[in-house]
Symmetry: D2
Subunit: 383 residues, 4 copies
């Protein structure tokens, strides 16, 4: 692991999720830029002291030479460093699991896509919400046609963490460290990934209205976006950090010609399904009228809510499968793996830049891109 030491939030989540099913063990880390603090954090997690580093380049060098080198590197650093860290470890031949947003510049993002492909590396991005069983059930229902033609997609990620001037993590509003986008880079890319993941449809163009509504904020804290999907479906994305009362506030609703779906991450074990001209059904994780495949992502029976860590754990389990498959020379499944890949991460970066462009252009619709050609490969492992 790079970053994520003591006091960090997301590092602990990654570790707990990774070990939940017994597939992973944390063995080395550049957990802080201070060697002393890196060692303290390493001790918290029972790592060997000599595998605690302060410099990720040195870690890459040493660990890549070990016979028991790690299967993958988790990147939990701040946004502006994702590109450098991931590049170094890809170059050193590692698989990478990187937090989102993949990068703060469009060209960096697509560069990682290319590098991962060249290196034949597994590269997963931290779009953790795609790990929830009910999100995957939704994806499966849409893929199998239960909703008919998808017509409208409404996705929200509206939180309250920026409702007052000054963030608890000040770099969130610092263009030097976060790049030109605020809330969209922070949580909007999750919403974007979620809507493409669930529907299986690409967002083709967006019209955006971005604003920094809290006095003193520099980067946008509020975004509304019209979405147009490749099949002609329309939609909207609402993303903000100023929605007082919304703890996390991620939800998605999809409406097709034959039914509608609703999922809200704060009640993640439930998926509401309204078939056309029939009563609404409440589908539950592990419950009735859900697909058999859904059972793969469950650890406890219905009525016993699984939570956020379990969603992450699902991703780690799949990443382990992907690595083992590759090492065994097995091809990826025809339908691809479900964990978010580096291409997914690059799509997220594109999404942010298209929004910035549209918003500065009187909400004119703006195509996502650039590398349209890559769209065809989107469920490949690493790109």
């Amino acid at each position: 692991m790079v970053g994520g030491g003591r006091g960090g939030y997301i590092g602990a989540i990654h570790r707990a999720a990774a070990i939940l099913d017994g597939h992973w063990e944390l063995v080395a880390g550049a957990l802080s830029r201070s060697l002393e603090r890196s060692r303290v954090s390493a001790a918290d997690w029972h790592l060997d002291g000599d595998r605690a580093y302060s410099d990720f380049r040195r870690m890459a060098e040493i660990e890549s030479g070990r016979p028991d080198r790690p299967d993958a590197i988790v990147v939990c650093t701040t946004n502006e460093t994702h590109f450098d860290v991931a590049t170094v470890f890809l170059d050193a031949g590692f698989n990478v699991i990187c937090e989102k947003p993949l990068a703060i510049r469009r060209e960096e993002a697509w560069s990682l896509v290319d590098l991962a492909k060249r290196k034949q590396a597994i590269f997963a991005v931290g779009h953790c919400y795609s790990g929830y069983p009910m999100v995957r059930l939704a994806k499966g229902m849409i893929a199998s046609g239960e909703l008919g033609e998808v017509r409208s997609v409404i996705v929200e990620y509206a939180s309250q963490y920026g409702a007052e001037r000054g963030y608890s993590m000040p770099w969130l509003d610092d263009p030097e460290r976060s790049g030109p986008s605020g809330v969209l880079a922070g949580t909007g890319t999750h919403a974007h990934h979620l809507c493409e993941f669930v529907t299986g449809l690409r967002v083709e163009e967006v019209s955006a209205d971005l604003a920094a509504l809290v006095p003193g904020h520099v980067l946008e804290d509020h975004a509304t976006m019209h979405l147009r999907f490749v099949n002609g479906a329309r939609g909207l994305l609402w993303n903000t950090s100023i929605a007082v009362g919304n703890e996390n506030g991620l939800s998605i609703r999809v409406f097709g010609s034959q039914g509608g779906l609703r999922w809200h991450q704060e009640n993640p074990n439930i998926l509401e399904f309204s078939p056309l001209n029939r009563a609404k059904r409440t589908l539950t994780r592990g419950g009735f009228d859900t697909s058999a495949a859904n059972k793969d992502w469950e650890r406890v029976p219905y009525g016993h809510p699984e939570g956020y860590q379990e969603a992450y754990a699902n991703l780690y389990t799949e990443i382990a499968e992907a690595i083992l498959d590759r090492e065994a020379g097995k091809p990826a499944p025809a339908e691809g793996y479900l964990f978010p890949t580096v291409t997914d991460g690059a799509r997220g970066v594109d999404f942010v830049f298209a929004a910035l462009e549209s918003s500065s252009n009187n909400a004119a619709f703006t195509k996502l891109g650039p590398p349209q050609a890559k769209a065809a490969t989107d469920r490949e492992i690493s790109a």
Copy 2:
């Protein structure tokens, strides 16, 4: 009443709401263009047979000459006739209660505003959702500053009545009878009125993306809109008739610097209130921690849900008050009456036309108008 005879839906609602508190009685009607059917409907409601008409112009002529002439005329006809019917009865000196949208042309709408003002008529429009006690509580809380500065307004009116080709009321998709707008004219104007009513803020400009998504539909059945309010607040409006599983689907969320509010019309006796940095509270009609004024709009105690008809009834009671005030020579209250006026109706028509213009112009922001000067007078009774 003009229109609204047997088999009509909205006429029966108007009648039941009007009589609920004992302030109104239905005495005459051009309930159908067929005299026979008008008489049958009149008998249903115990009207005198000689006050059942087939021609609304004749009804205006005769009823205006009676010593016991009606206090107001309710217009429940289809959209394209609102203008003619309302004009005739205004000219004949009646107060008017007209269903929305006020008109299907911008200039007709503002013409009614002018005529009502010249005639000193009370003119109310059927934006019934503003009659719910919890909507009014929300309005009062925002007006009194409990939310601080309003920053973001999210309003949805997303139903399923047009999810399949062909509406149960075919004129909804017929430009001859509905004008150039479909769902926005049908329910979107409710959403627009609701967000201006609750926040007390005018929508200044919109960026819209309109589409007819169900194959065969002519008029738009799906609209997403960025909203910009006069105080700099942003927002969005989602309006559709294709949201499978949404029975009515009207809701509003308002976020300010000091708190957030949420109201959903399908559970109308509840208003969720999240003060900044405090736990969410569930405010209930007649319950604790609500304003004293709220008690004026209640008929039954908390825990005994009031419904849709009662919301309409609140409007009828206020309209009766306004008429009695005017007849008694009393001025309108300084803060105005709360029922939707003809100006509110004209704003709704403007809103639809601005959306059409924006959508046909690549989602460019488009100002509402034309008659900006009138905005200042918006809480006058008739204009």
Copy 3:
């Protein structure tokens, strides 16, 4: 109407519900024991001044002699007078609509059953919750076998109106005026009627634990009861006035061999239905997958919540039908009418007395009765 004058709560509900569908008109009343106040209340509702009385016996005498005598008398007085008022008007040949509990003594209750039967009077009791469309849908679903054999019935009426010493209506805790039971007589009889109405099953015996938990209360403010039904089903009833936070708090859950149902009166337009081994469905008033019969009790479409007054109105409409049927010499429908009859009222009184007896006998199971023979006739109109 007897009782129910200005300031009274339930009288206004009865009037509004009665007129909602156009079947009833309020024409005369002993609205107060003071003639002056009775006249003031009569004026509120546009009654002829000479039909406002202060003495219900005189009202019975005069009104029974008029050619336009009322079709029915509504009894909205306090509990201890129900018996006298109802008896006088039955004797005078009127149909009666009486608030619950029917009487405060067991023998009075069954005496009214007998008298109504002898007089061939329509006699309805104010168990208003049976008027909700979704309650009736539940009844219909159980009757048609959708739940299989009913096994368990959980009914709650847990409110907060007595959570502090001293009721807003002091007679609620006064044995002289309320009889030997407090909350059970006040709201528990509603819960009892609801569970028998919905399931179509009689409560055969009860084991009760009654207590006055608020210091200073004389009559019980808390009751828990084991219920045993005639078919062997078990259940429980929880009834209290001290449940802080519960506004009204009436709900019922029924579990059978083939499915489960849940209805909560504070969200009355919804019925949750869980078929065995299938996902839960949310049935809505007027929505999909509900029976056609359900449409009879609706005034507005799905998504437009109906409320408490409409539930009462359903009863009034049916009572009108029953009276018109009887006057026309038509027999009652084979399945009986649905409004609560005088026998239902007497069952409620029995229920209270069986609970008192069980609770004073260490929760020993106690049979309802006495007049078991009458049970067979329970869906007759008047007994």
Copy 4:
């Protein structure tokens, strides 16, 4: 671990919860009575092959002699063996974590209480629901007086796992293996523990009505109980396995003189709090208006739901603390530890037997016991 091997449900939960915070490691196990299967399961969890046993007595003998002997033994076997297994390991000087019910005979349960005390062992019982942060918040709020005097406690554990004849785990209805009680021993003891844990009050006596409602069931599958608490509070407990549509169905509601609380395990991150005469508040894990102590039991921020495994993990973390404290010679905290102790387990067994006695005695109130003297020591570690 004893029991809990591959295919077992609860063993995997215990392991995952134990390792979540890094305090525990699974090192040895008698995971099956077949040595081969025990070894396969051991391999799943990366145990040394020579620490996989088929005989728990042999495991106790060998492991107790190792220098790196386990800190505690987890007992995940079927109910009738809990007593023997726990006794053997207590005798061998181990701390014990035992699934509930503690035993299937009253005297066995209290014998374990005595033995644990004599051995000064930490002995925890698997009442996992007490590990949820919001359950602990509820306990803290009641202890600090926020609800005033507790008056009424309503606890439900109503599931559907026995709605059809034949359980997926047949021993649940086999008196040889489960003892004289069915659903009460299976899940009712959780409900009993939860209501005593949250309120801090002992159930003093019960009146019970038990029935086997599904044809063919031998042991009770439905129980309703009147509860009387030591302070005079009343309550009810409903426990069943036949509630079609209820996935797990555990909830508790507590009503005091100053407020009411509601928690439902299927939405465990929320606690509803209604202060007397104030609007209802929705308290959330990690959210606003909750106590600082609550933060100890959180791993992720508000809005990111924690689940069932995390509740178990909280218990494991505390058990680790208790063991470390004891090994360090530190006394238990004055207020005791929060994890369920062997005395809590014995109380649960008493509860079941009192219910059986009451139900066979026409629902007569029956005191819990026998060993009343022990009640005073209830928050000691081991007894």
